[in-house]
Subunit: 298 residues, 2 copies
């Protein structure tokens, strides 16, 4: 149980977490700050935060839990602005989708205070942004990856684990490097492909005609292409080495498919489709085949 | 109202349409045939068809409506096998996802009887196959594209339109060429990309670890990669020229994104993301911006 949550960034992710923590009785009071005063004010009106703070520093003042829910590129500046309030008893977390850059930013910004910071990535989200969409259920049942550094305090790491578990999340730990490589593969690259696909349709003269005919397959495949441009700009730049590497793997696979189509090699094509289709049909969200368990999370 | 539906192919698409037509009171009796006798028998047990026929010819015998719901590559052989029963009063339709090859197959197979054949593509489907998943609601509200030839009889075309409209579908007409180009863009290419993406993940040593971490974005982006391998083999081969052309457009867009990432051009990246995200956010299934209307179908 935390006495006071200092929420820095009252958008979809931050707002939803504030609501979830309050609903679960894990925080008593939420002091919130967003870069845009109108967002902070709106968060207060919606009951997402209890008190509006005029700065990140004032949101963190008096808090025993500080949550950064800002674009990953803003992590360093935000942590710097609250640094001299960070104590060993405080738990500071982020919710960013990349972790190498966040850990690096935390090292630079927090220096010797870095032990209180537990880098976190809850694997959830929506294709809409803004506090209006804040939803206490957003985190329910999702996976949360923690990427502690060698200097993270054990007590803060345990508090972080307990917090997410109390929200019904499945918590994993891994290195920032492993995290960024895996999420380049299963999240950042799919987003890049969906964005590029939308651009390629819109760039054609017949684009509107095509779009008018699109059905449910298109709808689901492109849902993530509606993601927030600034957020995805930051993620794609922060994790670009892994994403570009995954994109190379993907393009090789695509070329193999194209080659089978060009040469009319029906058997090769069917074999590849069978492998891909089988893999997808057997996949279940949150089921970890690498650990030999199949516990669906949702 | 039709007296007897001859259903050739009792899988998901055919079985669902038989159920929908009976439920809507549009056909009195369904005689069904599938290549696999156990499928035909299962369809009868499930009440999807009333009578099991031992051949396509016997399924068509006595029918005033014949529906082909077979893999597109089987269209020519199937039509040949029923050709001498096809009359001017009979409506023959398919439900295939490609239309140039289906029209060509119909020309070859039906010859002078081609007037009774109305090529149809209902834009719906699921990532599962088999009569067990047959669902009378599968076609509700979907778009149906008809691609009549210059020899299609006006009376049969009107019957086809009325049939689909009576099921709550929105009917459009276009040339097979326009159809195949548009669906290469908004359906066949996304499937190809989703299949290739799954293959690229599974081909990596860390593939299982990656998959265990995947979340809701991955789930939706790859849903169509679970599609039936044989069906998609046929579609990708039948429409390969358009699909390969669309794949080139896509790869150009992807390279533009990659270039912005490599050079760290945040502004260019954000501009492209903004365009893609805005286009997807404004898209509504079944809303035709080219006609200035925005009637959502689902």
């Amino acid at each position: 149980m935390f006495e006071q949550l200092g929420l820095i960034g009252c958008g979809l992710m931050g707002g939803s977490l504030a609501l979830a923590l309050k609903q679960a009785g894990l925080v008593r009071r939420v002091v919130g700050y967003s870069k845009s005063p109108s967002t902070t004010e709106r968060a207060r009106e919606l009951g997402v935060i209890d008190v509006a703070a005029p700065s990140a520093l004032l949101a963190a003042a008096g808090a025993d839990l500080v949550l950064l829910a800002v674009p990953v590129a803003a992590t360093e500046a935000t942590l710097k602005s609250i640094k001299h309030l960070v104590t060993r008893d405080m738990l500071v977390m982020d919710v960013g989708s990349t972790k190498n850059d966040v850990v690096q930013a935390a090292r630079t910004a927090l220096g010797s205070q870095i032990g209180s910071f537990v880098p976190a990535h809850p694997v959830t989200g929506r294709e809409v942004a803004g506090v209006e969409f804040a939803d206490a259920q957003l985190y329910r049942g999702c996976q949360v990856v923690l990427t502690p550094t060698e200097r993270t305090l054990g007590a803060q790491l345990r508090k972080a684990e307990q917090l997410w578990q109390a929200l019904g999340c499945k918590v994993r730990q891994m290195s920032p490097e492993t995290h960024d490589q895996a999420f380049a593969a299963v999240s950042h690259l799919p987003h890049l492909l969906a964005f590029a696909f939308m651009q390629s349709i819109c760039g054609q003269a017949e684009g509107d005609t095509f779009l008018a005919l699109a059905g449910p397959g298109f709808r689901d495949f492109t849902r993530i292409a509606a993601g927030e441009p600034k957020m995805w700009r930051d993620i794609l730049l922060a994790n670009r080495e892994h994403v570009l590497e995954q994109s190379q793997h993907f393009q090789q696979a695509l070329h193999t498919f194209e080659q089978a189509m060009r040469t009319g090699d029906a058997q090769a094509l069917e074999d590849m489709l069978t492998l891909a289709s089988g893999a997808r049909a057997h996949w279940r969200m949150g089921a970890d085949r690498t650990l030999g368990t199949t516990t669906p999370l949702l």
